[in-house]
C-alpha cells in the first residue's frame, strides 16, 4: 500500500512538472509573418527564437 501511494505521488509530481514545462513552452511563442501572407513559428531552442524572446522580455520589463 505504501509503495502504491509513493508511486502515485511520484506520478502526480512528474505530471505537474510536465504540465508546467509544457505551458511555459506554449506561452513563449514567436511568430513571423511576411508580406506574401506566409508565416512561420520560430521553434523554441533555435537562436532566432531565443533572441526574439530575450528582446521581448527586456521590452516588457516595464
Amino acid at each position: 500500500m505504501r509503495k502504491l501511494l509513493l508511486l502515485t505521488a511520484l506520478a502526480t509530481l512528474a505530471w505537474r512538472l510536465w504540465r508546467r514545462s509544457r505551458d511555459a513552452g506554449e506561452l513563449e511563442r514567436a511568430i513571423v509573418g511576411y508580406e506574401d501572407g506566409s508565416s512561420l513559428v520560430l521553434d523554441p531552442g533555435t537562436p532566432e527564437h531565443e533572441r526574439v524572446v530575450a528582446v521581448a522580455r527586456e521590452a516588457l520589463g516595464r
Binding site: E28, I31, E35, V52, V55, L60, R62
Partner: protein, 134 residues
C-alpha cells in the same frame, strides 16, 4: 488623422495594447503613447532588433510584415506597412488576432492625412438682416 492621434485612439479603443511606438522609415520615433522618451527609444530599438532577426530567418525572402512574441507577462507585437513600423506591448494573454487588427488599423490611419475642417459659407445677408433688426 495624424500619427499621434492614431496611436492615442489605439490605446483608447484597445484594452489589450499597453504601449505603442510608431517608427518612421528611417527608424526614428514618429509618434508614441509613452511619455518617457527613453522608454519609447527602448521600444523602438526592440522593434528594430525584432525586424533584424525576423528578416534573417528567411533571408532573401519576402519582407517581414509582422512579428509576434508572446510571453507569460505580455506580448510584443510589430507590424509594418509601407516602410512604417508599429511596435506595441500588450497585457498578458492578449488575443493576437484582435491586437493585430487594432495595430494594422492604427498603422493605416496614421498614414492618413489629417482631416480637414469643413469650411462653412458665411452668410453676410443673414448677419446684416440680424444686425438691422437689432
Amino acid at each position: 488623422m495624424d500619427a499621434q492621434a492614431a496611436l492615442d485612439e489605439l490605446t483608447i479603443l484597445s484594452r489589450q495594447v499597453v504601449e505603442a511606438v510608431l517608427l518612421a522609415a528611417d527608424g526614428r520615433v514618429a509618434a508614441s503613447t509613452v511619455a518617457d522618451e527613453g522608454r519609447a527609444d527602448a521600444l523602438a530599438r526592440a522593434g528594430q532588433e525584432l525586424l533584424s532577426v525576423a528578416a534573417g530567418v528567411r533571408a532573401g525572402g519576402p519582407a517581414v510584415e509582422r512579428v509576434e512574441v508572446a510571453l507569460d507577462e505580455g506580448s510584443l507585437f510589430l507590424v509594418r506597412d509601407a516602410g512604417r513600423t508599429l511596435v506595441a506591448t500588450t497585457v498578458a494573454d492578449a488575443t493576437p488576432g484582435l491586437v493585430l487588427y487594432d495595430l494594422r488599423t492604427a498603422l493605416r490611419r496614421s498614414a492618413e492625412a489629417p482631416a480637414r475642417r469643413r469650411r462653412t459659407r458665411s452668410r453676410p445677408d443673414t448677419a446684416e438682416t440680424a444686425g438691422g433688426d437689432a
